[in-house]
């Protein structure tokens, strides 16, 4: 049982690192922001797996929702 949870942790962290790397490597701005949002959502899943559902709700609402909305406003302002 413990090794199963550890496998989920490892897969989650690897996907999160890939999403963070894509957020740096994308040339266009909107896909980069979406990759950053995916990394934040997976960070909230990691918080939930570490038995901190309070922090997970706050991270999913602010990191993946509100920050992405404000970034989209800023990107539309630059065009």
């Amino acid at each position: 049982m413990s090794s199963f949870v550890e496998i989920i942790h490892l897969v989650n962290l690897v996907i999160m690192l890939a999403a963070a790397l894509l957020a740096v490597l994308f040339r266009k701005l909107l896909p980069s922001v979406i990759a950053l949002s995916v990394a934040s959502l997976l960070l909230s899943l990691e918080f939930y797996l570490l038995h901190a559902p309070d922090v997970a709700i706050a991270e999913a609402a602010i990191g993946a929702g509100l920050t992405m909305a404000i970034f989209i406003f800023a990107i539309r302002g630059t065009r």
């Binding site: 559902p53 309070d54 709700i57 706050a58 609402a61 602010i62 929702g65 509100l66 909305a69 404000i70 989209i72 406003f73 800023a74 539309r76 302002g77």
Partner: protein
């Protein structure tokens, strides 16, 4: 800002009320389950952000004014500090409603139980005050960002 495509707008129409109800659920059940005033307010404000991004800023500004949201934020903070001053007969932040039998005043049961909504004293009221403050504060931030973006675009086009 121009509105997004018709698919996004239709999905938003179905989803935003469910997100708002879930945020209010997190606020009201703050003393029993994970989450509280801040988390529920952030979830409700994210529903507002979804509405603002998908429909464009001007369509949403007709029924939500910035001054009204600022008034709601100030009233939430005032309610919080008034509830804290209400127990000043004993100490600051004294929980004078707990175990009194009135509002949120049931005696909390010991052991494994599904949880009683009517307990906690002044804590659920403080959760509602913080939730009101956070949702209107984040709404003011979103409205100001959308308005500043439009102001910048108008100034560049001149």
């Amino acid at each position: 800002m121009s509105p997004m495509s018709k698919i996004v707008r239709t999905i938003t129409k179905f989803v935003y009320s469910i997100i708002i109800i879930f945020g209010f659920y997190i606020i009201v059940h703050g003393h029993l389950t994970p989450g509280g005033g801040f988390q529920g307010g952030a979830v409700t404000a994210s529903a507002f952000a979804l509405l603002l991004v998908s429909y464009g800023s001007l369509a949403s500004k007709k029924f939500v004014k910035k001054d009204f949201l600022s008034f709601l934020e100030s009233s939430g903070l005032t309610l919080f500090i008034a509830l804290a001053f209400l127990g000043l007969g004993t100490t600051f932040f004294y929980n004078l409603l707990a175990n009194s039998g009135g509002w949120f005043g049931n005696v909390s049961s010991v052991g494994i139980n599904p949880g009683d909504m009517n307990t906690g004293g002044v804590v659920p009221l403080m959760n509602m005050a913080v939730g009101l403050e956070v949702l209107s504060g984040l709404g003011v931030i979103l409205l100001v960002m959308a308005g500043a973006m439009e102001f910048t675009k108008k100034k560049e086009n001149l």
